[in-house]
Amino acid sequence: MTSTLATLCLLLATPFVFWPLLRHWSVAPPGEPETDLASLRQAEMEEVEVDLASGRISSEEAARLRHELA
């Protein structure tokens, strides 16, 4: 009975312990990190353009940010 109860406790603890692994698999499947980075870069570039168009940042600032993100 001791072993059964121990196994039950371990089964209860497993999702908590391995949660980072489960979350990693669901959010970023292996083999796709480059695509993920590219899409993030694209989103940030678009945000820079929106900020420039709305006058929140200057053209020099936008150029510097584009260079940094490239």
Binding site: M1, A6, A13, F16, R41, V48
Partner: protein, 655 residues
């Protein structure tokens, strides 16, 4: 049956999670794997939850009088009050092991959760080392000394608790001591992780300093409660007997005191890196050594109720810890080099001197404790008594007091002539108190040295606080607000001053009760009286009473209008064990301490002590703990390590 199976099952699950945490954490540290590291940490936290659950199951069994569990039968009975029944969790061998690992696991989990900024490698290794420490205890609890072992036949009642432990002190002294011991594992694990990871920065020191201080504070309180318990329960008129078990509890506390000071040098000046790590390691090793001494029964002690066959296991664990830490320290010794002190006459120099003196005291106590073992190997075991500790320790304590008087006035880096001018006030205080002592007829060389030094140290600490007060007066705005702001800005400085004042007050109590204790023993018949140190006591008569499983004889004495009743309790069921119940009349000036030694008919033999300033010891320790708490609340956290470059834009001001 179910509670025992459940508790054992939970402990087995904790053991498995501990092994998982070790394997994953060391692997994550080695590969600097940011994905695996939190899994190792989570396994550690899950193990902590399992250990808490196991402790709760044991409490459930204790409170429910589940006498089929051997631990419950051996440490409780049905007549035991609920509080003491619950305290039996840490009152016995197996339960105290469970409580020990509970402390490491819970505080370790909190510390690890807050350690993410220290970087993947260091945190993962720290998790691994913490889990390794827990592994030893869990192996003990699962395979060697299970608190859930079952008896073949279930007795109708338990054996009860040792009468010496049936006291309020039992409720608070052991948990503080054990918690203090267990907390030393956290700085140790981080120090080992820093060595393995090759990190010689101060981030881990800043992170673990508070845990070390918490452990130091808990053990300081535990030691004081132990002194208080010995004082009011054992009936020998004193509070510290240099018993081996007292010594092994004092040693890690002393080493941590040295660490608290040396860590400041490392944090501020980047010096004493290897020495600081050495102190952290030694404090932990001494806590394991202490547990080994208590568990093995290898030396004779008043704590012999804790003896068990676990000694060799702890000895083995101690050897493993010594070898591992020595190898790691030797491996990284070259990278731990640090710049030398600019001048010996500086704050750093005072801290180094303090460290050397404290380690000298620790070495003297260690030698006195292990001498019976060492000498026993070559013939008749030699045992040293209080006179050895007083002879060897007194000069070192005097040096420490002198340092306490001058050290806080020293500046960092190098002291100039201003420092010499600042010394005039403590010197004046010392000279004045010496003159007063001589004037009032004090002739004891010890008192003539210690008390003027105490006056000087008190003046120094008061000067520090007064300087802060002057700054507050000069500050604009309301006085109270300025005081709070100044205190917040200089927490460590004022906390240290308060702690130093506490030390001075406690040492004044120790010195006064040592130098000026008065003792007398008298045999009296009803109507007779006696005088001790100006207190006139009259004996009225003796009464007897049966209370539960024991009988109590009480001698009724009067001091003016006050009634005092020293008593003697006898336990026929426990081999007629007799325990004194001391009567103490406490005032800030002195304690009148009465012990009923024996009785024949209505005739009684009483030992009376007058112990000056004993209450100052308890008050001084309270001040010291308050100072440490105040000095370490809030403040800046550890320096974060540089994070890997991420894909992110610089912050842009939004309108």
């Amino acid at each position: 049956m179910f509670q025992a199976e459940l508790g054992a099952g939970i402990l087995l699950a904790a053991l498995v999670l501990c092994v998982v945490s070790i394997l994953i954490s060391f692997s994550a540290g080695h590969r600097e794997d940011a994905l695996l590291a939190p899994i190792g940490r989570r396994a550690f936290c899950a193990m902590a939850v399992m250990i808490v659950a196991a402790a709760l199951v044991l409490e459930w069994a204790l409170v429910g009088h589940d006498f089929e569990i051997a631990y419950v039968t051996e440490h409780t009975d049905r007549s035991l009050p609920l509080a003491l029944t619950m305290a039996a969790l840490y009152g016995g061998q197996e339960g105290s092991l469970l409580y020990w690992v509970l402390g490491v696991a819970v505080i370790g989990s909190v510390s690890l959760a807050a350690a993410a900024r220290l970087g993947v490698k260091l945190t993962a290794y720290a998790t691994g080392f913490l889990a390794l420490v827990c592994l030893f205890y869990l192996i003990m609890l699962v395979f060697v000394a299970s608190p859930f072992s079952l008896l073949a036949t279930v007795p109708p009642d338990g054996l009860g608790l040792n009468p010496v432990l049936r006291d309020g002190g039992m409720l608070i002294h052991p948990p503080f001591m054990l918690a203090g011991f267990s907390f030393f594992a956290i700085p140790f694990s981080f120090a080992m992780a820093a060595l393995l990871a090759g990190r010689n920065d101060v981030a881990w020191i800043a992170h673990t300093r508070r845990v070390a201080l918490l452990g130091w504070g808990l053990q300081g309180v535990g030691l004081t409660l132990g002194m208080w318990w010995a004082y009011h329960v054992l009936g020998w008129g004193g509070y510290w007997g240099w018993d081996p078990v007292e010594n092994v509890a004092l040693m890690p506390w002393l080493v941590t005191t040295a660490y608290i000071h040396s860590a400041q040098i490392q944090e501020r000046r980047g010096q004493l890196r290897a020495w600081t790590i050495f102190l952290v390691i030694v404090a932990f090793l001494l806590s394991i050594f202490g547990t080994y001494i208590v568990r093995s029964g290898i030396v004779t002690s008043v704590h012999s109720f804790a003896v068990s066959p676990l000694g060799p296991w702890f000895y083995g664990f101690l050897i493993v810890c010594v070898v591992t830490s020595a190898v790691l320290l030797a491996w990284r010794a070259r990278s731990l080099g640090s710049p030398p002190l600019e001048s010996a006459v500086s704050r750093e120099g005072a801290f180094v001197a303090q460290n050397v003196i404290v380690m000298g005291i620790t070495a003297a106590i260690f030698w006195g404790t292990v001498l019976p073992l060492v000498s026993g190997m070559f013939g008749t075991p030699l045992v040293v008594g209080p006179s050895y500790y007083e002879r060897v320790g007194a000069p070192l304590f005097v040096l420490l007091l002198a340092l306490l008087a001058v050290g806080p006035l020293l500046p960092w880096r190098r002291a100039g002539r201003v420092w010499l001018r600042a010394l005039r006030w403590p010197l004046l205080a010392a000279a004045l108190s010496l003159a007063l002592l001589v004037l009032f007829g004090a002739r004891s060389p010890g008192a003539l040295v210690v008390l003027p030094l105490l006056a000087a140290a008190l003046t120094t600490s008061a000067l520090e606080l007064a300087r802060g007060g002057r700054a507050v007066q000069r500050a604009p705005g309301p006085w109270a607000g300025a005081a709070v702001r100044a205190a917040r800005r200089n927490r460590r400085r004022y906390g240290a001053s308060l702690a130093h004042i506490g030390i001075v007050v406690a040492i004044a109590g120790i010195a006064a009760s040592h130098f000026w204790q008065t003792q007398t023993q008298v045999t009296l018949r009803p109507g007779q009286g006696f005088t001790v140190a100006g207190y006139h006591l009259a004996y009225q008569g003796l009464s007897s009473q049966v209370v539960g499983d024991h009988s109590v004889k009480t001698a009724h004495l009067t001091l003016g209008d006050e009634q005092l009743g020293p008593a003697l309790a006898s336990y026929p069921g426990l081999g007629a064990q007799a325990l004194p119940r001391v009567a103490i009349r406490s005032t800030p000036i002195a304690d009148l301490y009465l012990v009923l030694v024996s009785s024949r008919g209505q005739s009684v033999t009483i030992t009376a002590f007058v112990n000056p300033l004993v209450t100052w010891i308890w008050a001084g320790v309270g001040l010291m703990i308050l100072g440490v708490i105040f000095g370490n609340l809030g403040g800046a956290g550890p320096e974060p390590v540089a994070e890997p470059r991420a894909l992110r834009r610089p912050a842009v001001a939004r309108s």
